[in-house]
């Protein structure tokens, strides 16, 4: 669901085809019959945006028919845990949870979502699952209205089809069998995306499909290193290895409580935005670190990270000095929010590095307008993409557009040729968290350079420009360790000043600042170049003696000459010698759950990681994701902290309670349980609650450039969804210059059902215009029975589908599908809703 795997990830789908040959059942639930559907055993057409009803009904079916894996659920999830008495569910508040503040449009008080705890702060539980306040019973009540009838009503899926999916999942889960759920941006690009994924997580926990071979929820990510760019993030709210970016939103005197948190050392949150105040390193550790579970290591990871960035300067004030240099966030600085800031003239300079918002980002017409407000921008790419050419080539179309007038656009642009993947070395992290090293084949052409070269030399120049500054604000830049020059130029290369990517990988992996076995007094201090590598994150310390750029990657390069990302041994059952999967080269996370509470495999067939009683340690086909010597019988002492707080039967080591969270007592901005809300633009009212759409989403309703169609708006009655084709890549940035691919898919088309085509007098192969309140585009009409009208909310709802690979640059040109999309953002991750919105169509072409 939420994925067109055969088209967007063909090689991964090859494994699905192989599994199907061996008896696995492949089911595809999607608004659009794609090449994925063609190969599936069962294809279920559904309405875009109804996912939580479809999945919620499966959850209800599992709960009401004893379909869950009892021993797994009772021992490994928080099903038995009690929730606070003052928690109120959507059942009681008609679509809202307790703690919602209407004026702030967010849950300002999430304290009621927490567990019921004893005086030591330990959660109470009822292993019989009977207590009405235990998670299991709360879920039964919460999902009671997610009935098969509701699936028909909201998704347009006949209950027999839905039931086939539900039954197949249940029958293929348990001790002997496992099921996997794959998703992609069909889920994430919705105003409730995180909660859809949560629904799948709940199903998988109930069925015992997490941490086990053949199970899991597979996030099919779309770019060569998009996983890497989240792990070592170029994201505003993360530092590295999922350490959050420090925040400074809270004023000194908050009106939220400042007391020891249930699972953190202490916390003070801004009541309105729920953002933590972190003026000092201690504040940060107290509130972002965890008292219990693996995140109790935050001090070591953060201190080592500070050292990797700022070197010796990180030791002043026990790390606090350099901590202060890290910029603090004061709100949502995400890409789309930033583009509003740009539109308002608040952003002056923009660096676009291999990214193409003028065609690839939501509401892209608005994106292009935003680019026009800049003073300057740098675009680095292989080709002259739309984002570099908007000032002279942008077509003027639609009722209120005129052709672009360069003389009115001030933006100064530096368009720099970049190196291709074959022209530089470094690592990508794939969607399975696997780092793979690439060697360099040839030099990039002309003035093209790697982005590593660009950033490194930009840093050198900036450090020179600021040299000698005594201003506090410049000390971050000046104390940054920035020595990545190659010791000698690459043989045969004409580029003599390419920095050493392997040295950067060493910093990411981590190194000893002082000799690990040094005696008191003889404290040699190493630099990045001469330091011994750390073997992994287990040795990182919070005393300034280690440096590490990203703790989760620590271990990838544990010794000189031993770059495990470049290892290419294809042997073994789980291919542990091929590449390096963080953390610690584990291929399946939480794999302790592949064994029963006593540490024995759930079944011989699904044997993966188990407790070896003679060796007194965990072992198996993968690197065990558990404390290697902790026996299943281990029970924590009262008041224990860190990893000592987890018993030998708690597989979910990152969580403070070691359990898989069916119910999320904290961490989500839109509720502890998934709840169906209609998309921001929808043809129907929410059939389940009075609350129409996600109450915590960011709507930007006052922005004139982000007008939304009203619910059930007769002007925009058609549901539209977007997707990729096998033959192109995202906005076409990397494919529309390739004749071989262009001839395979040379034109933007819209897929519409014969029924809708008939109603609108649109003929196959001719042109149609698609319009939304944001814009109009044209496309060829692909009239196909692969699209079908659905009966939803008592009437027929039509859906159309469009790929989004085109733009006004490249060798194959066409309208920009993203011109149609709006910018309503999911509350947890600020991702737009491009997979379910509404439009209208008519035959013809744009003027």
């Amino acid at each position: 669901m939420g994925s067109n795997m055969a088209e967007a990830h063909p090689i991964a789908f090859a494994s699905v085809v192989k599994a199907k040959e061996q008896g696995a059942k492949v089911m595809h639930v999607d608004p659009h019959y794609s090449r994925t559907s063609a190969l599936a055993n069962l294809y279920v057409p559904t309405r875009a945006g109804g996912d939580i009803v479809f999945l919620g009904a499966i959850i209800r079916h599992i709960l009401e028919n004893n379909g869950y894996f009892h021993d797994y659920v009772v021992n490994y999830t928080n099903a038995a845990t009690l929730v606070r008495e003052d928690f109120k569910d959507t059942e009681e508040l008609d679509g809202l949870f307790s703690g919602y503040e209407a004026d702030a449009e967010t849950y300002t008080d999430q304290s009621t979502w927490d567990y019921e705890r004893d005086k030591d702060g330990r959660p109470l539980s009822d292993p019989t699952l009977q207590n009405p306040r235990c998670v299991f019973q709360i879920m039964r009540r919460h999902f009671a209205r997610y009935t098969p009838e509701m699936v028909e009503e909201v998704c347009g899926v006949p209950r027999e089809q839905w039931l086939q999916v539900a039954q197949t999942l249940i029958e293929n889960s348990g001790r002997e069998r496992t099921s996997a759920i794959c998703y992609a941006v069909g889920w994430t690009q919705q105003s409730k995306g995180v909660q859809i994924i949560r629904s799948a997580a709940i199903i998988q926990l109930l069925l015992g499909n997490i941490g086990r071979t053949g199970g899991g929820i597979m996030a099919l990510r779309g770019h060569a290193s998009i996983q890497g760019s989240t792990d070592i993030p170029t994201l505003y709210d993360l530092l590295s290895g999922y350490l959050p970016q420090p925040s400074a939103l809270l004023t000194a005197v908050p009106h939220a409580e400042q007391s020891p948190g249930a699972t953190t050392w202490s916390q003070t949150r801004d009541a309105k935005t729920n953002i933590l105040s972190q003026q000092t390193l201690q504040d940060y550790i107290n509130s972002s670190g965890q008292k219990l579970g693996w995140w109790s290591n935050t001090p070591a990871y953060m201190r080592s990270f500070l050292h990797a960035w700022y070197g010796d300067a990180a030791n002043e004030e026990d790390g606090n000095c350099s901590y202060r240099l890290i910029p603090k966030i004061t709100g949502d600085h995400s890409h789309l929010v930033t583009s509003y800031q740009m539109l308002d003239g608040k952003v002056k300079g923009y660096l676009l590095i291999g990214q193409n918002p003028a065609a690839g980002s939501s509401n892209s017409r608005m994106q292009r307008k935003a680019l026009e407000q800049l003073d300057w921008m740098v675009v680095r790419d292989l080709y002259e993409v739309e984002s570099a050419a908007f000032w002279y080539k942008q077509p003027g179309y639609g009722p209120d557009s005129s052709p672009v007038d360069s003389s009115k656009i001030k933006t100064e642009i530096f368009l720099m040729p970049a190196a291709a993947t074959t022209e530089k070395e470094g690592t990508f992290t794939n969607t399975q968290r696997m780092l793979q090293w690439r060697d360099k084949a040839v030099d990039p052409p002309g003035d093209a350079r790697s982005d590593l070269w660009f950033v490194y030399h930009l840093g050198k120049r900036l450090q020179e420009l600021y040299a000698g500054s005594k201003q506090w604000r410049d000390q971050g830049l000046l104390s940054l360790t920035w020595d990545y020059a190659s010791e000698k130029p690459e043989e045969g290369s004409r580029i003599v000043d390419e920095p050493d990517a392997l040295l950067v990988l060493k910093e990411i992996n981590g190194y000893y600042v002082h000799p690990p076995d040094a005696k008191e007094g003889e404290k040699k201090t190493y630099t990045l170049r001469d330091a011994p590598h750390v073997p992994g994150y287990a040795v990182l310390k919070d005393d300034g003696s280690t440096a590490c750029g990203s703790w989760i990657y620590s271990g990838v390069y544990p010794a000189p000459g031993k770059n495990l990302a470049a290892s290419r041994n294809p042997e073994g059952r789980t291919f542990l010698g091929w590449g390096y999967s963080w953390p610690a080269n584990r291929r399946i996370l939480y794999n302790r759950a592949s064994a029963d509470p006593e540490g024995k495999p759930w079944s011989e067939r699904k044997k993966y990681v188990w407790w070896d009683e003679t060796e007194k340690k965990w072992t198996g086909y993968d690197v065990p994701d558990f404390m290697l010597n902790r026996p299943p019988s281990f029970r924590p002492k009262p008041g224990a902290v860190g990893m000592d707080a987890h018993s030998g039967t708690d597989p979910f080591i990152m969580k403070p309670d070691g359990k898989g969270w069916l119910f999320a007592p904290k961490g989500l901005k839109d509720g502890p349980l998934p709840t169906h809300y209609e998309p921001a633009e929808s043809p129907m009212h929410n059939a389940l609650y009075r609350q129409q759409s996600n109450p915590a989403a960011k709507y930007f309703r006052k922005r004139p450039d982000n007008v939304l169609a009203a619910v059930g708006d007769e002007q925009y009655p058609i549901v539209i969804t977007t997707y990729r084709l096998t033959e192109h890549h995202v906005s076409g940035q990397m494919t529309r210059w390739l004749p071989w691919l262009n001839s395979l898919q040379p034109s933007l088309f819209a897929e519409i059902s014969p029924e809708l085509a008939g109603e609108r007098h649109i003929r196959h192969g001719e042109w149609l215009i698609i319009n939304t309140p944001r814009g109009e585009i044209e496309a060829r009409a692909m009239v196909t029975r692969r699209m079908r009208p659905l009966r939803v909310g008592g009437r027929v709802v039509h859906q159309i589908g469009l790929p989004f690979h085109w733009g006004f640059q490249g060798k194959s040109k066409g309208s920009i599908t993203n011109d149609l999309a709006h910018m309503v953002l999911e509350p947890n991750v600020s991702i737009e809703e491009a997979k379910a919105f509404t439009c209208n169509i008519r035959p013809g072409r744009l003027p």
């Binding site: 019959y33 055993n41 086939q164 029958e171 293929n172 088309f749 029975r785």
Partner: protein, 313 residues
Amino acid sequence: MAIEQGSLQSMIGALVGNKTPPLPQQTAMGFFTDTSLCIGCKACEVACKQWNQLPADEMHWTGSSYDNTGALSPTTWRHVQFIEHIGRRENGSNGQPSPIDARIAHARGEGLIPFTPPGTALPFFNTDRWLMHSDVCKHCVHAPCQEACPTGAIIHTEFNTVYVQQDICNGCGYCVVACPFGVIARDDGGDFTAHKCTLCYDRMKDGIEPACAKACPTDSIQFGEVAKLKEHARERLGFLQARGVKEARLYGVDDAILEGGLNSSFLLLDEPEVYNLPANPARPSNNVAPASLWTILAAMILGLFGIIFFRED
């Protein structure tokens, strides 16, 4: 290697080119294209273009499902077809429930449809079918193109694959009309000689799998010894039929087609005609003999041209 011994000799040299004895025969190699595994990704088309450095086709949106390639051509040696067989539970007009939906609703009301349906009894393919098929040269055991070729340009290689020797072909076009599959074609936009899939003859020389078969993500395109491929094809057919895919059938695996079968055979999920394949491809051999005389003449004339214009030494 041509021997210069007077004009007639030269003419022969020009006519037959720089011919040398065939290389010793090896095990026959071929393709087996199993459409039941095809995901329509067209990696085969691109891998073929890439390896053989063939120019891209014109950009032309055909509207024929996802097939914008249209046909095999002198510069396109793999072609993925898309055939939509999508049924409808006929929706009544203006949004009335379809007759089947109404019947289901009625049966449900009467308690005739049990709450739990057959469960996991899912078909091997869902009932709506989007057939995908990567078409290619059939590498016929008795290849009409080869039989029609007057210059000896088309040969069966040591791997028993059908191969156009570009240094011999004179572009007469007899092969084009002879091929019952419409595979081989003359590159009238390029060098005016006949082109088609070489089964990556150059790669086979080093024991490397052809580019399309290597790239194919799902092993829909399999390359190997013809005998083994055919054995596998029969097993595969049995497997699919056992799983209820009764419409599966083989094409070119037995000797029925062109009295010898195809070294590049197929597993189809419908009648061959659905895939634009002739059920009983005609051997234009009746036309070959008379054509041959003309061909000889044509070849001789061309050969003379060769002597006049391209004489070496």
